[in-house]
Subunit: 333 residues, 4 copies
């Protein structure tokens, strides 16, 4: 397996991971989780949807919660391109690749392009959104974990190397990857556009499914505070894994499941990877799976993920067998 | 079961939990753990022992690591009394209770009284120690978790109510206790002298055995830093449980096992309980066992503890069946 | 000057600094400061008074804000004794000392003894208060600086050595003191009962006046958060000095003035000083005045303080000349 | 005054502020400051120079300390371009602009372009550096403030609007600016390339001179810790201003002077400004000068700055009169 070559002059300029669109059963329950517990700011809300942003975000929303009566699916991975011209270039590029792209109207967003990637992941691109006040120093509005901004998406896909190549052709750069020991196979890839380690991450599994959306939070203090508050507000069981420290990626993290089972990650901030000499960092799978200091995650953390609305997931060629907490305890015994 | 009455004019004045004496196999390995990782300050050391203190302690030592060739036992629970006169009163009181007490010489300590409590726990009392500089603002000497001071001991004993009564007769005050739901049985007791919630805690189990010694650390930051440093220094597997939040007791905690398997707790600071109107706080066992936000501890956290040198532990009348991580996962499945 | 001898068997058992009673012009303005900004919990309030406590306090109040139409004075230094019997012993002791003591009724407090010390400071002692829930882990009620509990009072008095001797006769122990370089004169004294460095501090100046009441707060994070919130809520000018680090005393601090000009200190937690071998720590005045890392306080921090209602302050024998910010800048220039 | 239009397709791709080159009198003294106190990692050092990086940096250096016998000047503002091709485009662009640009060799850097901007500021561009291990999770090597990475430069220049236009033509985007009340004059400008609020900031004054280089640090805790450590290591007087909170820019900060008087800022992390709809944020000069919660800086913070080696500074058309601490205290009096 060869690592695809980076494309320094991409066909269109994706700037960053932008917004997450969740279908949820009960807007009030979701609001309690995202606003009262996690601390997102409400930009707009009505009977059908709630639009949320982090306290450092001037864009209208990085989360859309849409009321839906069916199963709790995930709708689209939202990305930003730099200019309106990039949107047109994107449409042309996807069309040429045989992936039909079309413009739609989305509230509070500029012209929005819908398309699915080569493995069927529904994507959404826009160049602009309405602008809201940044509340970074409006401390009287800070609550819960004081979420700063959306950082990245992690997806399960049946064919990681193919997905990696597809996104690198779009201009994404590989920052880190995990390979089976002694190989250079792309088992798990971190891809970025914004100069931090990742905007989108692909892990092997039945997919495409959304494993989690990650949001940055400020300090050690906030990791404990949000867990403590979760216990007080009746969300203790929503804490799925952590707090802990990542191996690859390096950040402190805690994973929570929202009332519909959608998983979010709260983590702290990251290093820069914009320099051209920063070769992708390779990790042995055995090292990456190794406990840093926390115990391993429960099996559900590996296997459960949100379906994309209307997208039938496919099995990977080979199922993984990661070190779950259940397995860890069985071995320890 | 009636809760024993507090004794406001105790027979002698115990002021606080003071120092822990561990027998260890390899002083260098213990030093790496206690000094390089946790950050204790070395007051003195030679081939036979290392004397350690926390950065806010002016007393010579709150931990003594003694080199021992046999099994890794725990030697004595060290307590402070206020004056030399209290030591004499203590001796008289224990002798009268049929518990032979005798004075011994211990390095860096004033006159030291040895005695075992009614269930055989070896105790050691002194009124003074040599004085060392408090390093609370000697920031260049702060390392690891920056341990502040010894706070309390937790012991497993076969008969908690009897132990509670014995210590309350000595003047210890009950700050919190756990009872089987719907009863006032003293299943688990927190006893204090220094005006914080506990100097000594008794839990039911095969004993007397030392469950852990607890030391206070400053901030959220230090909980993560010490875990991160543990991973870097090869001590990841020594982290047994946490970080997490206590139900009864309220503090953030992390439990580690030292190279000999002795357990220590690092936790953050506590409220005051000196006022006379502070009735002991009662917790239902079902509530106390309930997950706050972290997952339950592994079974080993409940069952493993340090033997006291030369003391044969006894079975409790009834074995408990606490919610271990293993049980939790089996039920969840 | 000889340091008075400690009294190990005091005439009555004072356990700790307990509560502050402020006369304020506008209860709503004070509530905005103490509750919305600092984060105190309201135990009770009516048109005449607001009763506040910190989140780790189970006692009914550690602050009483009393509406008063006259000048913004301070009413009484509130102390706790251990038992009702201690109250009677206290009355007898004060009466014998020629300081008329009398019992009064105070809301939410047990029997309360009023007396003034030898320099005219109005004191109030009680053994019990009504009990309120400790909100230490009720995180949804934590606000602002998340004040934990009242810790100590600092007073300006014309004759510090005499005050020191008076309180030591009552059983207070001297933990630290500042002396003019090369002398042992008691220029500035830290006195304690609760086993931490101070319950009451006497500094030289026109008095008796109340310099500040100090409350403990949890972490570094809260020092910045409360300042940031102050700026947002219109209280920036109420921040008088800090955040900074104390020399003697060692804690991080920030001083604020409430809407009536009463000064409070928020600081973080302290070491234990209960051991008998802990001799009072002596500091040279030149060292204590030395900048630790923050710039010196403005002149007003040294000279301004709250008058006690109905008490005429007296001049000290000799006025000090401490290093104010104004003087520091003049020298630097 | 009109704000220059952003250039979305710049003549060459500057990616970020990269490295600072200081001339220092005594390498050992500088090492004590930058390594022992602040916590930078030494990538290389010899008798002539020390090369330092932050713990999240994989590039060889973000600070070069060069031993120099003359006055303590600042050498060059180091910037990164994306590719080697961008370097050639940059040379052509500067040459065409009448600013002679030439390639030089610099240790541990790829091909390096030297040029001075239109107001005489010496710049240095390179596309690559040698790669060193990122020590972001090598916690045993974290010291002092645990500096993460270089973030931005602030310069004093006599003509801010002209400088702003020059850099915007190069592709820099204006993120925030301060204007005299009621005008849109560019009095103070924040310019960025990396998607955070600033890579280079221009303030009005005698110049070009370097006001400071800023480095990000992790948490509230580290602000206090580095100040505390400074006091212990004899660097208390090097703390010039802060900790405090910025108005424009929003970050927590502390400014220190190194042993040669070069000023550095330690601050915490920032929001993203990559979206095209993010119009530059305008601040009234009166608002920006307003105290947030800390007191204003001393006069020296406004007037003192590092000279560029061999560059004669020029007077601005009009001298400012900012609110210094000296002025603040005079008015308060």
């Amino acid at each position: 397996m060869t690592i695809p070559k980076p494309v320094y002059n991409p066909p269109f300029n994706v700037t960053r991971a932008s917004h997450a669109v969740f279908n949820v059963k009960d807007l009030a329950a979701s609001r309690a989780f995202y606003v009262d517990l996690i601390g997102f700011v409400v930009s707009d809300e009505d009977n059908d949807a709630i639009y949320l942003r982090g306290v450092t975000e001037a864009c209208h929303h990085s989360i859309v919660l849409k009321h839906a009566t069916g199963p709790s699916t995930y709708e689209r991975v939202g990305m930003r391109v730099f200019t309106e011209e990039d949107l047109d270039k994107a449409k042309a590029w996807f069309d040429k690749a045989g992936l039909a792209a079309g413009f739609v109207e989305r509230p509070y967003q500029g012209r929005t392009l819908h398309v699915s990637d080569a493995q069927g992941t529904p994507l959404e691109f826009c160049a602009t959104m309405d602008v809201e006040p940044r509340l970074v120093v409006a401390f009287e509005h800070h609550r819960g974990a004081v979420p700063q901004r959306l950082d990245h998406f992690q997806l399960l896909v049946p064919d990681v190397p193919r997905q990696c190549e597809f996104y690198m052709t779009m201009g994404f750069r590989l920052s880190e990857y995990i390979s089976p020991d002694g190989t250079d196979d792309l088992m798990f890839v971190f891809l970025q556009r914004k100069g931090n380690p990742h905007d989108i991450v692909f892990a092997p599994g039945i997919g495409p499914r959304l494993h989690h959306v990650a949001f940055s939070i400020p300090e050690s203090y906030h990791f404990f505070y949000v867990c403590d508050l979760a216990a007080d507000l009746g969300f203790a069981d929503n804490i799925e894994y952590g707090p802990g420290r990542h191996g690859p990626g390096h950040a402190l993290f805690v994973y929570l499941r929202d009332p519909d089972g959608h998983r979010i990650e709260l983590f702290n901030t990251h290093y820069q990877v914009m320099d051209i000499e920063n070769e992708p960092v390779r990790w042995d799978a055995s090292y990456a799976a190794k406990r840093r200091w926390q115990l391993p995650p429960r099996r559900q953390w590996y296997t459960e993920a949100s379906l994309f609305a209307g997208v039938e997931p496919r099995e990977p060629a080979r199922r993984g067998d990661p070190l779950s907490l259940e397995k860890f305890l069985a071995v320890e015994k």
